[in-house]
Symmetry: C2
Subunit: 107 residues, 2 copies
DNA sequence: TCGATATGCAACTATATGGTTGCAAATATA
DNA sequence: TATATTTGCAACCATATAGTTGCATATCGA
């Protein structure tokens, strides 16, 4: 389907998913789905879908115990983004505005 | 509409847009739209749409000169992502797997 | 002035996405 | 065992997204 970095970026590009992810990161413990969905306005099924997307990106891991499914955040895949950003960091302040360069050259 | 970080993340979540952005970053000079679209398989209008999305995120700035529109990359908005990531970096290696913690507690 | 080039706008299509509801199945508990 | 709880699956809906084509307009250069 799509590459790893795209999957990760799409997962966190949605504000609701970022909220879910954040809630899981700051939680001291793994949380079952219903308990997560209680913290949000949208339906449990909506939450489940978001969790699936986060799981596909490796940002959430889910472990079944009895009838419950405990979810916890895994922040490691975010390193991929950091990695992607690293290349462009070089340009953050040092790069001379290339348009101006261009226009100056041409007059 | 949506907040800044969401706009930026959505902009770079698309692989084609990341390619366009990359091409502009590594270009030594600002590039007119047609010249950019020559580097890609999709139509010029497709490229224009992507450029609009990147522009909305502040990742591309466009300057008209005559009949041409020169595009150049601005990497600075990426700092927002770096900022967002910073919080979670704390958890990258130090965090104890919270599910295991939880399960161990319960037996 | 006339033709070629660069672009924007609008309409359209197909598919992805974020969300919903209803229902069935599995597990826990009284 | 009967009931309540947690969940997954499937169908469905509305909107967003990625892409297309056609056409009009503005500018450049001969």
């Amino acid at each position: 389907m799509q590459d790893k970095i795209t999957t990760i970026l799409k997962a966190i590009a949605d504000p609701t998913r970022r909220e879910i992810f954040h809630a899981l990161v700051v939680a001291a413990t793994a949380l079952p789905i219903t308990q997560i969905s209680n913290q949000f306005e949208i339906s449990r099924q909506g939450i489940t879908k978001h969790l699936k997307t986060l799981e596909d990106a490796g940002l959430v891991e889910i472990n079944t115990k009895g009838r419950e499914r405990f979810c916890y955040a895994n922040t490691k895949p975010l390193a991929e983004i950091n990695n992607w950003l690293a290349f462009y960091e070089k340009f953050w302040d040092t790069k001379i505005n290339s348009l101006e360069q261009h226009l100056n050259k041409k007059g």
